[in-house]
Amino acid sequence: MSKKIKSLSQFQLAMQGFKQNRLAVVCAWILGIFYFCAIFADFLAPYSFKNEERNYSYCRPTVVRFVDEGRLSRPYVNAMQLTFDEYHKRVYQVDAQKKYPIRLFIKGDEYKILGLIPCSYHLFGVEDPGRIYLFGADARGRDLFSRLLYGGRISLSIGVIGVAISFSIGLLLGGIAGYYGGLTDEIIMRICEMMMMIPGFYLLLALRAAVPDDFNSIQVYFSIVIILSFIGWAGLARIIRGMCLSLKTREYVLAAKAMGVSDIRIIVHHILPHTLSYSIIAIMLSIPGYILGESGLSLLGLGIVDPYASWGNMLSDAMSVVHITFAPWILLPGILIFITVMCFNVIGDALRDCLDPKFKMEEI
């Protein structure tokens, strides 16, 4: 009658603790939804990111109506009519006569599913000439909701890819520096310090200036990722190096050495995994830095440029107070950046609580 008990590693045990932190779980779900939306942006967005309608510049969010002449009907939107008031301000008036029902799986702008299969169906939308602006429109009458979804692709992926690159470099170089010590250590650490000496954002600007300006958007995207990760690895490498100095004297490392295991295998299998709890926290806490870095560059017009959307360059619209008072919804990308950064920080903190046993001891 022996029941098979699955052995849990210490990491798995720690993850059970994470699930008890409700706030962190909620944040994880929010991020999950964000990433899901970004991946399937083509399908979820009613319009493509460059679909513009100049007549609807800064059109306010469309109201979705469920009641038609006192009776419940399928959801529809009214047409909007652009007029000017006595101060020559734009005013959109609802044309109650023209109704456009919201349709599911409607044909619209063409796109490719995951960049491969051509398709033109969207989750929802209205038939032309009606327009649906769930979150309002921007200066050129492009749907803010659609652009937020497309912008999420860039803003959210840049953090993950950037962190993946810079952490692989940082972990490996830090591991090598700490494990071998001596001259190798000196050289790697001096390079790190040179990187850390220069204030981050200026280094970012300088490196961006070194990139040719005739790059297309994809090249710009990748150059930004590479620049961001080029800046980020040094701090991590230093800390990992310090941890390696103490980890390499552990007896299981000596035992592996005595068994003739190669140095690089020892670093990868026996040293770096023990820095994992720290690295995971550091990853979670540094992703916001990448997102903000990209937003900062794009806000200044050095990052992703129109017509391509990123949360940063969408926010550059909101740099003028006049526009904000007239169309406050253009601040939405900023709010999304805020939520994303908050979520990563909360998750990072929760992971620290459950992965770092010393921290827990102090609480008791």
Binding site: S7, A255, M259
Partner: protein
């Protein structure tokens, strides 16, 4: 002759002060000559800080010796590069002092034992499993422990795993660095019995590094007493116990066994 040490020295440099002319060193191991014959267990005894662990690690080439040479079956291994040393590694294995830190907490026992086959290269899966199960049974653990993590075992069991890890390489010399010191007395007893048993089965020779003289008496034919990096006495076990020559040995015996040593306090002083 299984292992021979010739004038082995290990000096650890101390940090150099400004305007200091000569660098100072800690002489952890100072001019040690030692031979170990196959099948003849040697107990290396000494207080903490006497350099016995360092000596063990020099034999394993975990530290390079500052001077001197280590011969394994007549072959000088001190000058070998890491790469050349690798195939010889399996001949000498070590069981470390602390069973809690000598097993990687993130590796299952299967991973720990699997590491042995990295060196040997292509060993078929069935063969691996067979050998893993073989050593686990030999050290008295159940085969089901393969997929468990170290934190699921007690100290004594962990030390058995550490012994299994060393045995799977089929070593000729097994260095036991305070291997039973951190275990409680009854478990010590069990592990020592196990070691005796394994010696016949696997044709092993032990270099038993310890400060515990009681254990040495049970397991070793010869005793080397180390003091401040030097070997001060080397003789058969019973001879050392019945007729210690060096004052430090006398003091050590007196401390360990309430052994009535007749020496004068002022004759020998431990600084």
């Amino acid at each position: 002759m299984l292992l021979e040490l010739k004038k082995v020295k290990k000096y650890f440099p101390l940090p150099q002060e400004l305007f200091q002319k000569e660098r100072e060193y800690v002489r952890a191991v100072d001019n040690v000559d030692l031979t170990i014959n196959a099948g003849e267990n040697l107990g290396l005894v000494g207080e903490s800080g006497s350099g016995k662990t360092t000596l063990g690690r020099i034999i394993l080439k975990l530290y390079p010796a500052t001077e001197g040479a280590v011969f394994l079956e007549g072959k000088d291994i001190t000058s070998l590069s890491n790469k050349e040393m690798r195939p010889l590694r399996k001949n000498i294995q070590m069981v470390f002092q602390d069973p809690y830190s000598s097993l990687d907490p993130r590796c299952t026992i299967r991973n720990v034992l699997n590491e042995a086959f990295v060196l040997e290269g292509k060993v078929v899966f069935e063969e691996r499993i067979k050998r893993m199960k073989g050593v686990l049974r030999a050290v008295g653990l159940s085969v089901s422990s393969l997929d468990k993590y170290p934190h699921e075992f007690s100290g004594g069991e962990r030390q058995r795993i550490a012994i299994a890890r060393a045995l799977i390489m089929n070593p000729k010399l097994l260095i036991l660095d305070e291997a039973v010191s951190s275990l409680d007395v009854l478990i010590q007893e069990q592990v020592i019995d196990l070691l005796k048993e394994l010696q016949d089965k696997y044709d092993l020779t032990y270099l038993f590094i310890t400060h515990n003289l009681r254990v040495v008496r049970k397991l070793c034919q010869k005793i080397a007493v180390m003091y401040k990096g030097k070997i001060v006495e080397l003789a058969g076990t019973e001879e050392v116990f019945s007729n210690p020559i060096h004052p430090y040995t006398k003091k050590l015996l007196a401390a360990a066994l309430d052994y009535k040593a007749n020496y004068q306090e002022d004759e020998f002083e431990i600084k």
